[in-house]
Symmetry: C2
Subunit: 91 residues, 2 copies
């Protein structure tokens, strides 16, 4: 399975999200050799930490899914961001 098949499969299973502020991160690591270290697992916490430095993240609003196949490791992070102060009622 290629990286692109993975992303395609993820997409098809989802319905259109409501209009809200959100951030989505998809990572895929395709190894040439089976059994190497899992780069995606290593990067997971550090990328979440980078994001948390820039936007307030409510841990209840973060969905993380990891997948680990023989050749492809994947990470999907879906973060619903709080409305910036003053904008929530600005319509």
């Amino acid at each position: 399975m290629s990286l692109f098949n993975f992303f395609n499969k993820r997409v098809v299973g989802n319905t259109a999200p409501a209009a809200r502020e959100r951030l989505q991160v998809l990572l895929a690591h395709e190894r040439a050799e089976i059994g190497q270290s899992d780069l995606v697992a290593v990067l997971r916490e550090e990328i979440l930490a980078v994001i948390a430095r820039h936007v307030p993240i409510n841990r209840d609003k973060v969905k993380v899914k990891m997948g680990r196949g023989e050749q492809i490791s994947t990470l999907e992070v879906d973060i619903e961001l709080p409305q910036p102060a003053g904008l929530a009622t600005a319509h």
Copy 2:
């Protein structure tokens, strides 16, 4: 356009990659209000720096694409990783 439409569109335009070690990062930021700061642009360099701390990245082998729509900002990073020492001829 939703996040999922964006990812779907990206995927369709690509052909299956050859078997090699690579890392792909897709980021999408969907803003509830137009004109807010561009989170994806802010995260771009820091996420690349996180990756570079864990794997040797050859700058010639990194493809970065940014997109900026009215409501969705996107980042696509495709990194071809060097074969770990000793594995390249291990078949």
